[in-house]
């Protein structure tokens, strides 16, 4: 059964099982949503390029480019203190260099409500475990938006320069940083930009810049991860700069060896909740499965396992019996020997007798 699943399907199922194990409930969504929702929160989306159409009464609709916004919209605070939702959905975008329409399989979870330290730890752990389910060689980069924000604040960097400074962080562009702000200011930021290592050791380098609260959070996450034996796989790295208008606190991004770009992204987005008038905190992430194919190394040596040749005057009952005796994984029944089909073995049914013509092992 497992052999017929493609790698991305297999991963989608194992992630669903993982999230349900931690109390997340599956949420099945409609594929369509009024465009308004996305227009108001355009910057929240990882990419623009929303595919739109009009419905019967002229409302502009969108094919869902993202799931988080819909989950936030449907959040009701009166239900439970914490709502845990997971999903696997296709989302639709019109992006890439060729601006082509794309369907992307997205699996993820959102935790909404009265989020405390434990929920942060657990979500980071689940993000790391999601990557682990994809490849043993993975890295989860983690950053704290609050630390960067307070350091920038203390340096009195003007509001108009901040986006450019953040861009330098995203690019790990040290030269750009020095060109942008005074070298005294840049010297303060440089150590932050250069931090890149497992969270438990890297967090020590933040002693002078982070508040006690922030340090406590990061240390708690490191300690919790240690309990799962995955503290070496989660790195502190300030190059993850998600949009400041939506994200606060912990943000993270995941990579696996063999896929050239990040396949997991998430974080705390309390500011989005506030923007959408939801009196709650939130954290979540999404795993993009569209690039997983790159990891699928299983070669398909054969198009079909068995080819069975029969003759024109063959008795159908005998043919049926032969097919059942063969009991092959896959069988292609043909009159003549195919030219371009790669098969493992070639069988012929002649006068009610099965004979093997070729066998490639």
């Amino acid at each position: 059964m497992t052999t017929i699943l493609k790698l991305d399907e297999k991963i989608a199922f194992s992630l669903r099982a993982l999230y349900q194990q931690y109390g997340y409930r599956q949420f099945k969504m409609s594929k369509f949503e009024p465009y308004d929702l996305y227009m108001q929160n355009k910057e929240f989306l990882v990419s623009d390029g929303i595919i739109t159409f009009t419905d019967n009464d002229g409302t502009l609709m969108a094919l869902k480019p993202d799931v988080t916004l819909s989950i936030v919209k449907n959040y009701r605070s009166d239900k439970t203190p914490i709502q845990k939702v997971c999903y696997d959905e296709n989302v639709y975008r019109n992006n890439g260099s060729g601006k082509q329409f794309r369907e992307i399989m997205q699996v993820g979870l959102e935790c909404l409500g009265d989020i405390g330290l434990y929920e942060l730890c657990e979500t980071v752990m689940l993000a790391a475990k999601s990557l682990e389910a994809i490849s043993a060689n993975y890295v989860l980069d983690l950053s704290h938006m609050g630390i960067l924000a307070s350091v920038l604040d203390a340096l009195n960097i003007s509001e108009s320069t901040i986006p450019q400074v953040m861009q330098c962080f995203a690019d790990k562009n040290e030269d750009g940083l020095f060109a942008l702000i005074s070298s005294e200011q840049a010297e303060v930021l440089l150590p932050l930009m250069q931090i890149n290592g497992p969270i438990a050791s890297a967090v020590k380098q933040l002693k002078s810049v982070a508040s006690e609260d922030q340090l406590y959070t990061l240390e708690a996450i490191a300690a919790y991860l240690r309990g799962f034996g995955m503290e070496d796989r989660v790195y502190l790295d300030f190059s993850i700069v998600s949009n400041r208008n939506y994200y606060n606190g912990i943000v993270f991004r995941g990579y696996v060896d063999g896929i050239p770009s990040s396949i997991l992204s998430g974080g705390q987005y309390d500011k989005l909740m506030r923007k959408m008038d939801k009196p709650a905190k939130s954290i979540g992430f999404a795993v993009y499965l569209d690039q997983i194919e790159l990891l699928d190394q299983r070669s398909t040596a054969y198009d079909v396992d068995t080819v069975l040749l029969y003759s024109e005057d063959q008795n159908p009952t005998e043919l049926a019996a032969a097919i059942q005796t063969l009991g092959s994984e896959s069988i292609f029944v043909l009159r003549e020997q195919p030219e371009r089909l790669r098969y493992r073995r070639l069988m012929r049914l002649m006068n009610g007798r099965l004979e093997e013509l070729e066998n490639h092992g």
């Binding site: 562009n173 040290e174 696996v256």
Partner: protein, 210 residues
Amino acid sequence: LKTMVNVALPKGRLGEKVYAMFEAAGFPCPSIRENNRKLIFENEEAGVRFFWVKPSDVAIYVERGAADIGVAGKDILLEYEPDVYELLDLHLGTCRMAVAAKREFRDDPRKTLRVATKFTNIAKQYYSAQCRDIDLIKLNGSIELAPILGLSDVIVDIVETGTTLKENDLEPFETIVPISARLISNKASYKFKYEEIASILSGLKGQVKS
């Protein structure tokens, strides 16, 4: 087995200089100097594998991970905005992105400005920051011809010495941004080949003449 770092170098004069920096930094690959038709050059001992690609394609190779690192002009990075790390300014191939026009041209802000360029993204961003209404004309070469024939009012292009412009009675009159070659890295490679990339980076840092 040593981890190999794939390096995309831009074809041409700049690429030769960049390779010389790699060589001086302790990452040589002698076979690259041989005159042959090979496309990929490897030095297993130093752990590097070089290949030449069209300069404007370097960023694509790196962004998609076919190359772990590469060298691309800032112009290309600004134009295509690839999702890569920009690790080092090599201070090579320095020039500037500029607006140029015929010497006698005077900008009339009441009119839509016709801009011819190869770098449509850079031009769009530059003028939209000024709230200027422009008519963007995408060309693929011989940009200087556009204002001479009246196809456009100005051009946005790379200016190195300004000689080509001068010979055609054109003049640069606004600098948009200074340009130089940058070392870029694929984001995932930076995680999984960190040691190797970091050692190349520190080697190259020692070679930068500012």
